[in-house]
Amino acid sequence: MSLAAHRLTRAAAAAPRLMRTALAVAAGVAAFGAGTAHAQAYPNKPVRIVVPFAAGGPADIYARAVAQYLGDELKQPFTVDDRPGGGSLIGTDIVAKSPPDGYNLLLISNTHTVNETLYAKRPFTLMKDFAPISPINIAYLVMVVNPSTTIKSVPDAISQAKAAPGKLNYASSGSGTPYHMAGELFKAMTKVDITHVPYKGSSGARTDVIGGQVQMMFDSVSTMTPFIKQNKVRGIATTGKQRDPILPELPTVADTVPGYTAEIWLGLMAPAKTPQVIIDKLNGEIQKMVQTPAIRDTWAAQGASPMVMTQNTFTKYLNDDIAKWAKVVKISGAKVE
């Protein structure tokens, strides 16, 4: 019965206003189901992880890995529910409006911390409507240029951009994405003028950098490595604090621009007021997972490394990240209505 109630809540969250009244009764049943659930040990019914990004993308893939692990350890199915769209706002809002019972979780990335400043109008506030659970992993980016350009290093890029302000272009998979923000952060820290050219998704952007329509872009290390090896693009630098294990021959951007890092990290949040016991339990499991050697090795091959943090450290990390991107967004003038 509780499974059916759970499904109905899902429908209620997505239903337009017309149907809400009809589903209110169903939601009541769901709340009742949740109430009885607390009496027993968590979890005693399937848990849903909403991924507010496209199916098949890195966020979806890692969410499925986490769901698989949690399901095996906690003996209840953890299902991944992809709700892409609206720059992650649609899926995120669904969880914001879900009951804080531990059965509705949200996969987040730095898209969420950027959105806090980027979107003037949001139906929720990240740190108020959600409780941090645990980070999952972090991956760094690589700065690539078209091989026909004369840019061979980060100093080259800076000097060419300074010599001809606004002449160079960089592509990104869309406004507000971590790839866009990596470029804006680079511009802000080096005080150069490079024009941002947004695309819908990274494959279009990649095609145009390979084809030479746009000179440079920041992209994920794992997707770009084959193109670098085939000399379709030239790798310039990676964006971590240290050299990247997948592309150890490349220097870091921070070698030239001290303090520069750009990354994509993933984490898990729950609706605010979710019982602390449940949050602690999930944090413990996920932290156990990311430190398993087998998982660590698989992720390393994909360019991602585990993030080891307690709930409190993660909360501080999120607040710092929101502040960091708020500055960059302000300088870049990017905004989404």
Binding site: R10, A14, T195, T207, V336
Partner: protein
């Protein structure tokens, strides 16, 4: 040549690969892709045989169901439906004198006459042989031109893409059947619908009325299923069921030596014409078969026999429509631009699986790319085997009453649309577009240009603005880049041609004729 063979063997490898499948607790290793190819060919033939239900509607309705399948299997199945429908369509045309598909309208003329003269079997095998030859030739063309064309595609910047799409949309207007004004109106409507949602460059949301479901625009699946699926099914219900079936006349399947001699040249001509028309934006199978029929009528020694059961009148158009069906994949797979409504649906199928159609598909998903091409060969072979001996069975299908068939289809459509995003809003949108679609049919406005406008509009705007961003606001970029200029000149030429009074009159006649 060697790389071509290597590529094709990658493709055949992918199609024939064994995959484990568990049925009732037992595990089997089965060539699943071959199975998808077979399913596609069967469904295609089925809907081809049934008049009224075409490949566009079927693919639109099946899109959401493909979500759970692997991407290669999906594409193999959907393309099987597409070319399978052309085979099936000719069966109905010849035996019942009803075009199962728009592309087999002309086949009715001489095919049915052949059937009435007791040569239904010969007409059917002529159609099958012609389709098979043309299908193989079209697939070979696709395989041979894909690599060089994709190389060219990397030279395409935003300006070139924009100009190409201008050409494509004008092509869609010029080649659309029926009224010119209506075709333009439908395209504009499609363009307007396409810009709903968040603007890529500024992030401003347009026509979304603060409804979060509209922030990413109207779902393509919902529009396609509404306008084609719902509308077609509902208007078909209005028609009285009235069919005269000719099965007992199917006797000898084997064409005589003289028949072979007469069909050879039309098959070659039809294949060439169909291949060319298939690549053109807005073209496709229907146009190809019309073109081939008029061509044969002009050049044939036996032109007096046309309309009375000339074998050339079956061989030419049937080869042409199948060749066009294959070559219309070329612009989709190399440039990522759909030349007709079915290909626009294929874009939808690929995006559902997170594959952005374009030149990079060949390098990033070689198995998918070459697997699809290899499957077309296998599919064409399957269709010949499927069609000739089983004609009696297909004809039985024509006896299922629509009042049972169609409500079932509608229900599955609703389930399908819902499951794409687990969102009931999409079902409402589908119903809305279904009602719109019925109105379009009542006003005799073809909905295909709407779908093309809907898909191409946002792409066109994106590229226009990207080109302007890269040129720092200088609009001459469209004229100073040679490739872009060439395409704009071609577009202007097309416009000029259609504006000429004589041509406009001829155009009306061609489409009114048959």
């Amino acid at each position: 040549m060697e790389t071509l063979i290597a590529n094709l063997s990658t493709g055949f490898g992918a199609v024939l690969a064994l995959e484990p499948l568990t049925i009732l607790g037992m595990s089997f290793n089965l060539p699943m892709n071959l199975a998808y190819c077979f399913i596609g060919a069967v469904i295609g033939t089925l809907i081809g045989v049934l008049p009224g239900l075409g490949p566009v509607a079927t693919i639109a309705m099946l899109l959401p169901a493909t979500y759970a399948l692997p991407p290669l299997g999906v594409l193999i199945m959907l393309s099987g439906i597409y070319y399978g429908a052309h085979y099936g369509g000719s069966t109905t045309a010849i035996i019942v004198n009803l075009p199962g598909e728009t592309s087999s309208v002309v086949t009715c003329i001489d095919g049915y006459q052949m059937a009435r003269r007791g040569r239904a079997g010969v007409a059917l095998s002529t159609a099958a042989i012609g389709s098979f030859v043309a299908g193989c030739a079209g697939t070979l063309l696709l395989a041979a031109f894909a690599v060089p064309l994709a190389e060219v595609a990397f030279k395409f910047g935003p300006a070139e893409y924009f100009s190409l799409m201008v050409l494509g949309l004008i092509g869609a207007v010029v080649l659309a059947s029926g009224s010119l004004i209506k075709a333009i109106a439908m395209i504009v409507l499609g363009l307007l619908g396409g810009i709903i949602g968040t603007d890529v460059n500024t992030g401003v949301s347009r026509y979304a009325f603060d409804i979060p479901e509209l922030a990413d625009g109207i779902g393509f699946v919902a529009v396609a299923m509404g306008v084609f699926g719902f509308a077609e099914v509902m208007t078909n219900l209005e028609q009285k069921e009235h069919r005269e079936v000719f099965t007992n006349k199917v006797t000898s399947m084997f064409p005589s030596k003289d028949d072979f001699k007469r069909m050879f040249a039309p098959i070659v001509r039809g294949t060439i014409l169909g291949s060319v028309l298939g690549i053109l934006p807005g073209g496709g199978a229907a146009l190809a078969s019309f073109g081939a029929y008029s061509l044969e009528k002009k050049v044939s020694k036996n032109s007096a026999e046309f309309g009375k059961g000339a074998i050339e009148g079956v061989a030419g158009p049937e080869s042409a429509n199948n060749a066009a069906a294959q070559t219309s994949f070329i612009p989709l797979l190399t440039l990522g631009i759909p030349p007709n409504a079915v290909m626009a649906l294929m874009v939808g199928a690929m995006t559902i699986h997170n594959i952005q159609p374009g030149p990079q598909v060949m390098t990033s998903n070689p198995q998918l790319f070459w697997g699809l091409i290899a499957s077309m060969w296998i599919g064409n072979l399957m269709l010949v085997i499927l069609n000739l001996p089983l004609i009696g069975m297909w004809v039985q299908l024509l006896k299922v009453p629509y009042r049972m068939l169609y409500p079932a289809i509608l229900m599955f459509c609703c389930i399908g649309v819902f499951s794409v995003n687990n969102n009931s809003f999409d079902v409402l949108i589908t119903v809305l577009f279904g009602v719109l679609g019925i109105m379009f049919i009542k006003f005799a406005s073809e909905p295909a240009p709407l779908l093309l406008g809907f898909i191409l509009g946002p792409m066109m705007e994106e590229n226009l603005r990207r080109a302007m961003l890269l040129s720092r606001g200088d609009p001459t970029v469209f004229f100073t880049r040679p490739l872009s200029l060439t395409m704009l000149i071609m577009a202007a030429a097309l416009l000029a041609i259609i504006a000429l009074p004589q041509i406009a009159k001829r155009r009306e006649e061609t489409f009114v004729e048959e």
